[in-house]
C-alpha cells in the first residue's frame, strides 16, 4: 500500500448549528499551521439550525485549492443525509462515523471506523455533548493523519481565543478521540499529513474580511447596507474593524454606518454620499443589485461616484442563496435601463479583495461613476491564504473636484458636464461649496446641467459617457497572464476560478496540450486581453455560470476577426468549481471545434 502524503480530500457531513464549523476550522488551521497546502470549503444551507452541511478539506502539495474530485475520507455525523452520503462514496474510502446515531454503515467495500462520539462527549459535559461530539472526529483525524499536537493546540486556542474552559474541554475531547482511535481501530492509514516549511508571513482569511479592510484603507466614510448572504460579512467586518483602525480627532466616528431599509435605499445613500463629496459604499448580492438597478442608472447618467460590492450567490431569483456562482457579471456590466456601462473590478485572491477594496473608491472618484467590486461566495466566505496585505502605493485620488474659486477661474468655459480635457471626464463642484451650483438630475441635461430634450445634446452626452468609461480600460487592473511559449490554447477566466485553474491547467497538459491562461481582473476589458486572444490559436472563456457571460461581453466588443477564435465553457451547479468537470468540458469543446 502506497502512502498518500498531503494529497487527499476529507468530506465532513454534519447538520448546521451543531458547532461543527469550529471543529472543521480546527482541522483546517492545524494542517495550515504545519505548512500543509490546504483549502476548506463550507457548503452550508440557508437555515439557522438543523439542515445538512458539508465541509470539504483538501490537502494538496501541488497547491490545488479546488475541492478534489474524489472523497478519500468521509466523516459521518448527520443522520438526515446518512444513506446518501454513503452511496456517493467510491470503494476504499475511509469512513469515520458517529456510532451514537445508531445507523448502519453498509459499505463492506470501504474502511469503516466507528466511534461513540456523543456518548464520550457526555462524560466531559452532558449539556455540551452535541457540540463537543464534533471534536472527537478531529481527534480521529489527528490519529489517522498524524496531525501535529502542537498545531492542534494552536488552532484550538485560535478558535476559542480567551475562553479557557472551552479550550480545555475541546483539547480533552480531541485527545480522547485520538486515544479511542489508537486503541480500537486496526487500520493502518494510507493518508498522512507531513509538515512542510511554512512561510511565517502567511495566514488564512475570508475574502469578505479582506474587502472590508481594503474599504477602510480606501477611506470609506459612509457604509449603507441591507443584510443579505453572502455579503453581510463585508459590512459586519467594516463595522468591527473601523473603530480599531480609525478615529476622528475629537474621538468621533469617521465612517457613518446605516443599516438601510432595503437595497434601493442602500444604493440611494451611496449616491447621496458620493454627490456630497464622501466615499460611500454598499455591499450586496445579486437580488440586491436587481433592486439597486434604477439608482445605478442615475449614478451613470448624473455622474456620481460610489462603490457597490457584489458577492455573487447562485441565481436567478432567490436561487441557492448559500451557494456560489459567477452569474451576475453581465448584469453588473450593463445594469439599469437604457445604454449603460459600468466599471467592474474582479478580484481573484484575498490580496486583490483588499487591493480592489481601496482602489474602487479611487476609480469611482476619478471616473465619476459607480464602480462594482465583484466577488462570489466562494472567495468571500471561505478562507484563503495570503502573505499579508500591501499598503496602498498611491495617495487617495479624489478625481476632478473643483474646491476653490481660483480653480474654477482657471477653467475656461466651465460647465458641469463639459469635457474640457478631452477625456470625457468633466469637473464637478460639491454641495455647500457655493461654486457653480446645479440641480443634479436623472433627466436629459446639457453641458451646464440644465434640463434638455435636444436630440443632439442627448446624443453628445451619451457619446461622451461611452468615451469616459472606455478611457478607463487600460487604467484598470490589467489581466494576469501566464503564458507558454507555444501559443496554442489560451484560457480566459476570472474571479474565484483562480483557485481551480492550476489544477485544470495540469490536467490539460497531461493530455498533451500546452495552456496559457489570462485572468481578467476588470471590465471594460484591458487591451492586453485582446492581445492575448490575438496571439493564441484557440481561446476558451471559462466561467462559473450557465451561459458564458464574459464570453457574451467579449463577443459583443471584440473585433469580428477574433470571434471565431473564442469558445465558451461555462458550468454552474452552485458548488465551487471542481477541476475535472471543467477540464472535461474544455476537452469536449476543443473536440467539437476540431471536428
Amino acid at each position: 500500500m502506497s502512502l498518500r502524503v498531503n494529497d487527499f480530500t476529507i468530506n465532513i457531513a454534519t447538520a448546521n448549528g451543531t458547532g461543527s464549523q469550529s471543529a472543521n476550522l480546527v482541522i483546517l488551521h492545524s494542517m495550515y499551521e504545519m505548512g500543509v497546502p490546504v483549502s476548506g470549503k463550507n457548503l452550508f444551507p440557508s437555515n439557522i439550525s438543523g439542515l445538512p452541511t458539508w465541509f470539504i478539506i483538501r490537502a494538496s502539495d501541488a497547491g490545488y485549492q479546488a475541492p478534489g474530485d474524489y472523497t478519500h475520507i468521509q466523516i459521518m455525523m448527520n443522520k438526515d443525509t446518512w444513506q446518501k452520503d454513503l452511496d456517493k462514496l467510491d470503494p476504499g474510502t475511509v469512513i469515520i462515523y458517529n456510532q451514537d446515531t445508531k445507523l448502519p454503515v453498509d459499505r463492506d467495500d470501504c474502511i469503516v471506523l466507528g466511534m461513540p462520539m456523543t456518548k464520550m462527549a457526555r462524560t466531559i459535559s452532558p449539556k455540551m455533548a452535541k457540540l463537543m461530539a464534533n471534536m472527537y472526529y478531529v481527534g480521529a483525524l489527528a490519529h489517522i493523519l498524524k496531525i501535529d499536537d502542537e498545531a492542534i493546540r494552536k488552532a484550538i486556542s485560535q478558535q476559542f481565543g480567551g475562553k479557557e474552559k472551552a479550550i480545555e474541554w475541546n483539547m480533552q475531547a480531541i485527545s480522547e478521540g485520538k486515544e479511542y482511535a489508537k486503541e480500537n481501530w486496526e487500520y493502518e492509514s494510507e493518508y498522512l499529513v507531513e509538515a512542510r516549511e511554512k512561510d511565517p508571513n502567511t495566514f488564512l482569511i475570508e475574502g469578505n474580511e479582506a474587502t472590508a479592510l481594503g474599504a477602510i484603507y480606501g477611506g470609506i466614510n459612509m457604509l449603507s447596507w441591507y443584510p443579505i448572504t453572502p455579503s453581510s460579512s463585508v459590512a459586519e467586518s467594516i463595522i468591527g474593524w473601523i473603530p480599531k483602525l480609525r478615529e476622528g480627532e475629537d474621538g468621533g466616528a469617521t465612517c457613518a454606518v446605516v443599516q438601510a431599509e432595503d437595497e434601493l435605499a442602500a444604493a440611494g445613500m451611496v449616491l447621496g454620499a458620493g454627490w456630497a463629496g464622501g466615499r460611500g459604499m454598499t455591499c450586496t448580492s445579486g437580488p440586491g443589485i436587481s433592486l439597486m438597478s434604477e439608482f445605478i442608472g442615475l449614478f451613470y447618467f448624473a455622474e456620481v461616484p460610489g462603490v457597490i460590492w457584489d458577492v455573487n450567490r447562485t441565481g436567478p431569483s432567490t436561487g441557492l442563496p448559500t451557494r456560489t456562482q459567477q452569474g451576475d457579471l453581465s448584469m453588473l456590466y450593463e445594469a439599469s435601463h437604457g445604454d449603460t456601462q459600468h466599471i467592474v473590478l474582479i478580484p481573484g485572491t484575498v490580496d486583490e479583495c483588499f487591493e480592489f477594496g481601496w482602489r474602487a473608491f479611487d476609480y469611482a472618484d476619478r471616473f465619476q461613476t459607480m464602480v462594482f467590486g465583484f466577488g462570489d461566495l466562494d472567495l468571500g466566505m471561505n478562507r484563503w491564504s495570503t502573505a499579508g496585505f500591501e499598503y496602498p502605493d498611491i495617495p487617495m485620488d479624489r478625481g476632478k473636484v473643483i474646491r476653490s474659486q481660483e480653480q474654477m477661474d482657471a477653467i475656461e468655459n466651465y460647465g458641469r458636464y463639459r469635457d474640457v480635457d478631452g477625456d470625457g471626464i468633466a469637473y464637478r463642484t460639491l454641495p455647500g461649496s457655493g461654486l457653480d451650483p446645479i440641480l443634479y438630475r436623472g433627466t436629459g441635461h446639457d453641458e451646464e446641467g440644465i434640463y434638455s430634450e435636444d436630440p443632439q445634446v442627448y446624443h453628445a452626452t451619451m457619446k461622451r459617457l461611452r468615451k469616459k468609461i472606455d478611457g478607463a480600460r487600460d487604467l484598470l487592473p490589467a489581466p494576469v497572464i501566464r503564458e507558454e511559449k507555444e501559443k496554442k490554447l489560451g484560457i480566459i477566466f476570472y474571479g474565484s476560478m483562480e483557485n481551480t485553474i492550476v489544477e485544470i491547467d495540469d490536467m490539460l497538459e497531461k493530455t498533451g496540450l500546452t495552456v496559457s491562461t489570462c485572468r481578467v481582473r476588470a471590465l471594460p476589458y484591458h487591451s492586453e486581453l485582446q492581445t492575448f486572444i490575438e496571439e493564441h490559436e484557440r481561446v476558451i472563456v471559462l466561467e462559473i455560470n450557465r451561459d458564458g457571460q464574459l464570453f457574451g461581453i467579449l463577443r459583443k466588443e471584440l473585433p469580428v476577426h477574433l470571434l471565431n477564435k473564442i469558445h465558451s465553457v461555462a458550468y454552474s451547479d452552485g458548488l465551487p468549481p471542481r477541476a475535472r468537470v471543467y477540464t472535461n468540458m474544455i476537452i469536449d469543446a476543443l473536440e467539437e471545434v476540431e471536428s
Binding site: 483602525l245 480609525r246 434601493l264 435605499a265 456630497a276 464622501g278 448624473a302 454641495p431
Partner: protein, 344 residues
C-alpha cells in the same frame, strides 16, 4: 435709485430665486416655491448652505424654480430620502430642504419616508399634496380622501393615507399641515421648520388646477378654503430680531422655542392645542377627517429627539471634509494588522 431690501446676511431676495416654472398657471406648487424663497430669505440662510432635494413628479421639478444658488438633486421616484440620508451622513452641516409629492411620498417612496422619520434625518420635508399624479395625466394618488372626486373619472372609494398621522405615530420631531393658499401660515411654519433640528414635515395641500380643482375634489381651492380647520394662528419670531416681529396677541397663546433660538408663537383660535402631545395631534387629525375638514397648523413637535448623525456619534467635522490622513489608517497600522493575523 431705489433702496433694495436686504436680509440679515445682506442678500437681496433675488439671490434666492430660481428658474422659470414650467408648471400649469395657478398651480399650488408655484405658490409653495414662492414661500420657500421668502422663508429662506427672511431666515437669512446662506443659499450655498442649502441642498435642495426632490424625487419625481410635478412637485419634484420645482427645485429648479427656487434657490438657484444652492446645489440640488432631482433624484428618482420616491427615493429622495435615501439620497438625502447619504448626503447628510457625509455633510451634516448642509441644510436639507426637500420637496416631494403625494405619489412620491405616500406610494412609491412610503418606505423611505418612514425610515427617514425613524432615523430623524435633519431635514425639512415638504409634501406638495394634491391627491393626483399630474405628470401622468391625473390618476388618483394614495392621499385622496374617500368620497373625493377629480375632474374626470369615478369617485375615489379607498381610504386615504394621512401622512401627518403616520408621521406623528412614527415620532417625527416636527409635523405640520398647511395649504398653499395660506401664505402667512405656510411661511411661518416653513421658517419654523428651517429653524428646527431634526426631521420637519410639512404636508401642504396644494391644489392641482388641471386635474382636481373641481368642487367635488377635497383638495380643490374652494373646498380647502371652506373646510380649513385652523388649529392656531402661527407667528414666527426670528432669533436675530425678536422684538419687531409681531404684536403680542390679546388672547391665549403658547410659545415654542426652536433649535436656532427662534420662536414659533401659536395663538389659540377655538380650543388650545398642545403640540407636544401626540395623542392630541392624532385627535385633531381624526376629528377633522371625520367631518371632511383639513386641520392645519403645527400638529406635533418634539425638540428632544437625537438626529440621525447625532445617534451615530460622528466627528464634528463633516466626514467629507476630513483630511485623507484621518480616513486612511497609517502604513504602520497595516503592519500591526498583518502581524496580528499571523500570530493567530
Amino acid at each position: 435709485m431705489s433702496i433694495l431690501k436686504l436680509n440679515v446676511i445682506d442678500l437681496e431676495k433675488s439671490e434666492y430665486k430660481g428658474g422659470k416654472s414650467s408648471l400649469c398657471p395657478g398651480c399650488g406648487h408655484d405658490q409653495i416655491s414662492n414661500v420657500i424663497i421668502q422663508a429662506a430669505w427672511e431666515n437669512g440662510i446662506k443659499p450655498e448652505g442649502i441642498a435642495k432635494m426632490s424625487g419625481i413628479g410635478c412637485s419634484s421639478k420645482t427645485p429648479a424654480y427656487f434657490l438657484g444658488k444652492s446645489h440640488g438633486f432631482n433624484t428618482v421616484h420616491g427615493r429622495m430620502p435615501s439620497v438625502t440620508t447619504g448626503a447628510n451622513m457625509v455633510n451634516k452641516d448642509l441644510s436639507f430642504l426637500a420637496v416631494s409629492g403625494d405619489g412620491d411620498t405616500a406610494s412609491i417612496g412610503i418606505g423611505q419616508f418612514i425610515h427617514a422619520i425613524r432615523r430623524n434625518l435633519d431635514m425639512v420635508y415638504i409634501i406638495e399634496n394634491n391627491g393626483v399624479y399630474g405628470l401622468t395625466k391625473g390618476q388618483y394618488s394614495a392621499t385622496v380622501e374617500k368620497g373625493s372626486k377629480k375632474k374626470k373619472g369615478a369617485m375615489n372609494e379607498q381610504a386615504p393615507i394621512d401622512l401627518c398621522a403616520m408621521a406623528v405615530n412614527l415620532g417625527c420631531s416636527f409635523v405640520a399641515r398647511s395649504f398653499s393658499g395660506s401664505k402667512k401660515q405656510l411661511t411661518a411654519l416653513l421658517r419654523a421648520a428651517m429653524s428646527h433640528k431634526g426631521m420637519a414635515i410639512i404636508d401642504v395641500i396644494s391644489p392641482c388646477v388641471t386635474f382636481a380643482n373641481n368642487d367635488e375634489s377635497y383638495k380643490s381651492y374652494n373646498y380647502v378654503k371652506a373646510n380649513d380647520e385652523v388649529l392656531h394662528i402661527v407667528d414666527y419670531i426670528p432669533h436675530f430680531s425678536p422684538i419687531e416681529a409681531v404684536e403680542v396677541p390679546a388672547g391665549e397663546f403658547k410659545e415654542i422655542k426652536l433649535f436656532d433660538g427662534s420662536t414659533l408663537r401659536l395663538e389659540t383660535v377655538a380650543s388650545e392645542h398642545n403640540p407636544n402631545d401626540p395623542v392630541e395631534a392624532l385627535r385633531a387629525i381624526h376629528e377633522a377627517d371625520r367631518e371632511g375638514r383639513h386641520v392645519t397648523g403645527l400638529l406635533y413637535y418634539n425638540p428632544d429627539k437625537k438626529t440621525a448623525t447625532e445617534t451615530l456619534g460622528l466627528t464634528n467635522t463633516p466626514l467629507m471634509a476630513l483630511p485623507d490622513s484621518q480616513l486612511r489608517p497609517s502604513e504602520e497600522s497595516l503592519e500591526i494588522l498583518n502581524a496580528g493575523f499571523r500570530a493567530n
